[in-house]
Amino acid sequence: MHQFRIESIVPIHFGNIDVSFTNSSLYMVIAATLVTLLTVLGMSRGSLVPGRLQSVAELSYEFVANMLRDNVGDAGKRYFPFVFTLFMFVLVCNLLGMTPYSFTVTSHIIITFAFALLIFIGVTLIAFAKHGIGFLKFFAPHGVPIYLLLLVVPIEVVSYFSRPFSLSIRLFANMMAGHTVLKVFAGFVIALGVFGVAPLVFMVALTGLEVMVACLQAYVFAILTCIYLNDALHMH
């Protein structure tokens, strides 16, 4: 489908590697700029009674701060900049995708997987930095007899390594499925002629649902990052 196609805007080749500036990169730049503008412009006034833009900036700040405090505790404060950036970027990318004729960055598995892999590697490094080699005990729940460990440890390891996959597939599949469904219903509107009003009404509702999914998936992405961070810091 056309909306998922990646087109290069400024072709750049680095040896054999294609590092062209594509429409995907363009929308990532737009998203990053929007988030920066929101936070910088929103807080530039810094008035006691916040205006609209400042309200949005403060609300998103508090939302992520609360999320981190609830799921990680005080130890998580240090990672607030990372989680906030991640949440805002994914959220803005998802919502940008809802504007007509735009490109949805998060509907490509490679991008969500890159995010998830970064989180996974980062969290694992934090865990090893914090607990040293003792983090390996995370894979062996205590109170399990030795002979069962042979079975439990591989299961836990596979479960741990499935994290970046489930994290990335969930975001990518939600975004892609939503946009595909919208496209399919849009096709019905034309095909049905006068009766196309019915799918058109349905599409309006579906667009609302998609906006909700866009926000929800950004939230889920951020909260799972918090949960993984918590596991790394506190080894439940």
């Binding site: 609830d70 836990e156 489930s166 889920v220």
Partner: protein
Amino acid sequence: LFARGARDLAGSDSGSNPGDSGAEKGRNSDLADFEARLRRTQQAHRAPEPKAGQASAMGVAFRLTTELVVGVFLGAAIGLAIDRWLGTRPWFLLVFFFIGMAAGVLNVYRAAQEISAQAAQGDDGDNKG
């Protein structure tokens, strides 16, 4: 927490009542009042608040499905990779397929626990608020 709040309130009351004996005293009581309010605000900041967003049923279903599917596929992929490396097809594939299934079920179980814990917390907050 409530006891702490009540004590703070009582403290600030007794501090501001005998405040008519001079400016020095008044400033002290203001300070005490400020301390109490500051402590209360900090307390509120530290207390866990109910979750703002609650996943929709479809979101929950989708999350659980991906957890299960990813577990099975990752198990099979690891098995295949080891087999290709050691040339022992299909034994590691078989073993890791089942381990992957178990890991998928474990993931689903943990995700369901998290979701139900979140839901319980949300209900709690609703009842109190």
